[in-house]
Symmetry: D2
Subunit: 333 residues, 4 copies
Amino acid sequence: MTVRFAILGAGRIGQVHAAAIASVPGAALIAISDPVEQAAARVRDAFGADIRSIDAIADADDVDAVVICTPTDTHADLIERFTGAGKAVFCEKPVDLDLARVKACLAHVERVAGILMVGFQRRFDPDFNALKSAIDAGRIGAVEMVTLTSRDPGPPPVDYIARSGGIFRDMMIHDFDVARWVLGEEVAYVMAAASNLVDPAIGAAGDFDSANVILTTASGKQAVITNSRRAAYGYDQRIEVHGSLGSVSAENTHMARIEIADRDGYHRPPLLDFFMSRYTAAYAAEIAAFVHCVTTGAPVPTTGHDGLMALALAEAALRSVAEGRRVAIGELI
Amino acid sequence: MTVRFAILGAGRIGQVHAAAIASVPGAALIAISDPVEQAAARVRDAFGADIRSIDAIADADDVDAVVICTPTDTHADLIERFTGAGKAVFCEKPVDLDLARVKACLAHVERVAGILMVGFQRRFDPDFNALKSAIDAGRIGAVEMVTLTSRDPGPPPVDYIARSGGIFRDMMIHDFDVARWVLGEEVAYVMAAASNLVDPAIGAAGDFDSANVILTTASGKQAVITNSRRAAYGYDQRIEVHGSLGSVSAENTHMARIEIADRDGYHRPPLLDFFMSRYTAAYAAEIAAFVHCVTTGAPVPTTGHDGLMALALAEAALRSVAEGRRVAIGELI
Amino acid sequence: MTVRFAILGAGRIGQVHAAAIASVPGAALIAISDPVEQAAARVRDAFGADIRSIDAIADADDVDAVVICTPTDTHADLIERFTGAGKAVFCEKPVDLDLARVKACLAHVERVAGILMVGFQRRFDPDFNALKSAIDAGRIGAVEMVTLTSRDPGPPPVDYIARSGGIFRDMMIHDFDVARWVLGEEVAYVMAAASNLVDPAIGAAGDFDSANVILTTASGKQAVITNSRRAAYGYDQRIEVHGSLGSVSAENTHMARIEIADRDGYHRPPLLDFFMSRYTAAYAAEIAAFVHCVTTGAPVPTTGHDGLMALALAEAALRSVAEGRRVAIGELI
Amino acid sequence: MTVRFAILGAGRIGQVHAAAIASVPGAALIAISDPVEQAAARVRDAFGADIRSIDAIADADDVDAVVICTPTDTHADLIERFTGAGKAVFCEKPVDLDLARVKACLAHVERVAGILMVGFQRRFDPDFNALKSAIDAGRIGAVEMVTLTSRDPGPPPVDYIARSGGIFRDMMIHDFDVARWVLGEEVAYVMAAASNLVDPAIGAAGDFDSANVILTTASGKQAVITNSRRAAYGYDQRIEVHGSLGSVSAENTHMARIEIADRDGYHRPPLLDFFMSRYTAAYAAEIAAFVHCVTTGAPVPTTGHDGLMALALAEAALRSVAEGRRVAIGELI
């Protein structure tokens, strides 16, 4: 069986998913939708899909699943509409920036018994996956402390910042999800610190560009997340998990695996500097997982609840910064 | 323009090239040919090509180029036939195990002004390419000494060994080509040592499984090649080039980029252990380069002459082992 | 000029300093004092010093400097006595576990214009020093975020825990000092989380064994410190500093710089697993720095004030854990 | 028991051994001898030894052992004189540049039942030792192939080159010894290539600056040695041993274990660039081993025979270059 896809939104992330679908056996791209015709045409030309309206896709008999890559404020509505129309839905994070709206949306999905997978592609990265497998295989014993480092090569445009929901909801949300995944236990408390060090314009937009967060579970496991909107050396993406019998870490991905030695020392290339090149394999594996679930009826690996919890952690972090205190996740959810 | 391909031979390497063609924009697989119907059908089913006879492919109007993946002893004849039929030809190394036959074949290709590219995929590996670019950019000054290490995870079946032409012509031929490529100067002299350490059956078949070779150019540059048919830790593929201003090296590729630390120390996964997974990207880039040449008329990056010279070096190494002396390449070519 | 030393306290750290003095040109060990005669005799036999009482050392004309390695609760009194007696004093951290007592002691030292250096050996580690030099040379631009990871191979005996002052004052105090050193700006706020994951007996003794702390300066620079009393793979000691132009990190020290590759992967030895072997060079460099200051009158690199501030940070972390809030350092000092 | 030493020759290597003796428990430096009074005085002042003539040392009752650090052409005579005088002798390599003279000298030592240890400090390097221990512990199975890389930071003065015996006897002799040590079997055949790439003056002096050698044992084990008189990035000293169950390698030693990441990539410091800093620990361990043998009567770990065999391999390599052929070690010894 081949899962027939439509993609809603032909922007950068829509193109990533189009390429992922093209590379996954058992997946076919049928349609693309975007108000900007040029964007839709680019996907059509590169991957051979029809250009259709959202309405037409909702009514189409030849579409089994949709990938939602539209602006954030349309996600929840589209999820409700397409699960209601009997399509399997893959939605880029977040479901919504408002926790109550997310909950309502998830309740709808549950009511219609819809299939909803939320995009947290890092869980599908081959190296992070190997790290998780090592943990699950007992290689480091009981998980005790997690350290996540995520640094972007540079800040996004300030107008993006302004409507992004801020560093915790836009950027660190991925780390919150990874933290929950590797901790293997829900987070109980959040403490956060945030500063404006990279660009004053980000501060002027009411956001931060440098943040550290400590998560604690009920049993006392801890995770530290470090985020910066600037890293001269590329897209810095690391996980380290410390357990009772040892540690496991996943390394960064360099532009090439070469080393030059000269009178100044030993030199390796910078890191891949873009999420599309860094996570190419992860995006493909993510779509493959979704296809597997749609085909077999297996439960999706990254659920609407995962999206909700990651957002709640972001919310808690923001409140911790504002109020200078430890915030219980129970205050929010 | 799309280059329309047929693949002759649907074995392991034929499948590699089918996958490479599928992943390269501007390339389409039209036909597959193999006396073993099941093998041909597997490629057809996976990649959507017609099954045709070699004769039919030679006559076909809808085939621009062929990839020759048949047994070695058919290569030269097929090259001659298909360049004669006006098809662009990509042939897996070697053109032939006999130097005179190779020369005759190349003369034919020249006569008919055919396009012939010989498959030395390592030159297209992204890491090796980055190494070569660093050299060409002057990062290590003048090249002085090259060290190539190639070790297979384990020996091939002895019946393969018996008809392979031996370790120098079957395995080290790739290193000879890489050595020529990074030395940037023809090899003048060859000294070689070879032993039988891995499996006595290999010795019984008249071959070696462990070998070291020193190549010297007229200006005194040297390259050392180390080969073994056994490496417990995977497919060991390294290049180090030493120059007047520094060195550059390309690292191995591990199964995952994670590290586990426990009471016994720090542990990384073994290397990728198969040429198909190790060189996936290289094979795709190689076909892309061929497509580029066919489309634009640019000269091919790995020529019949490259195939001839690598074979001559293998021949010289064999003679050096047999006679215990430095062999001048001029004795052979 | 040779600085003539007496060591007060012949325990483990006293022996470390005896060895350091023996290896530093311009330093001579004259006397050792310890209530346990066997301990004193061991130092005497290994390094050739006299055994003397503390009183005799205070009165001695042939002693220029003392190294205080006695139990913590005697430090402040001994500092006051020996600076009063005109000896240069090197005291192991901490000056005292009580902030007020530390302040009073430092006031005394100032009154008598005494020389007091407090032992924070990590600043003298060659690798950490190279990291600091790179920062000072502008290699990473402005410091923004610091990550310190310190994990002990295993917890100390519980009776030591009970009188140690707890993980923040006993273990993390070194990281607080290093954080201040590399941040280059005083810490303004402290947020901390602490758990009991390694050994319930530590929790029963009222202490924690796993802790994360976020420090923030007035300008918004942040430092994260991760501590655990357990690391199966050895003594884990890492620093990473992130700045506007890049990052710099100092790696761990393994038992040997070899790597074994076998069918299970690539393996390096565990880390050095004891502070005495890990910081041998640091202890020697620390004493050499002290000797330099005593000889030339240069200001000491690690002052009583440094000891006070590190203790205040520990105090603030403890309060942050207890009260679940961000603690301003101004509340304490 | 303390072994009382005299050092003959107060040049660079003499100072290295003086420092080594000072750091080894159970060793004491009594006397130093050098025709250049200033050189002798420097050792006396730094380490507290008497300046004496060679004659006085030979007759001294308070000297148990001598370390010979004089010019090469005096080694054999001094070994004979001091073993004859009942002193234990540690002699820097080589015993002599002439094989016949070495043999005669060793015969003398045997006649007088003298103690003679020849200086091959690399065997005592902690990392190389850990590598050898891993081999001896069976971690890589049967040794099959050895790769040794030795590159000097830069060439020595040409007048040194002229009287050094050439690259094989002066520089590669250390690698020949290490190769024999890790192969665990005598070398049967030598093939060598050598060029003049670094400095024409070296060629004018009749020597080479770049060389590769393949050693083969009777059972077919092979070792490759790569030497260059130039390495922009420091003193390059690596060993890799490949066996039936895996490989083990010893890494280089950098000036510091830090890494800087910036817009140009990841950067580590150059290697230690001097044999005295690179092998400080090795020289101390070497003297400690000698002291152990003198004290206990245990056989020395690096014998006159080891010196003879390394020299024979150098001789064979030179002949292989000259005659363009594989040279049997039996032709020389």
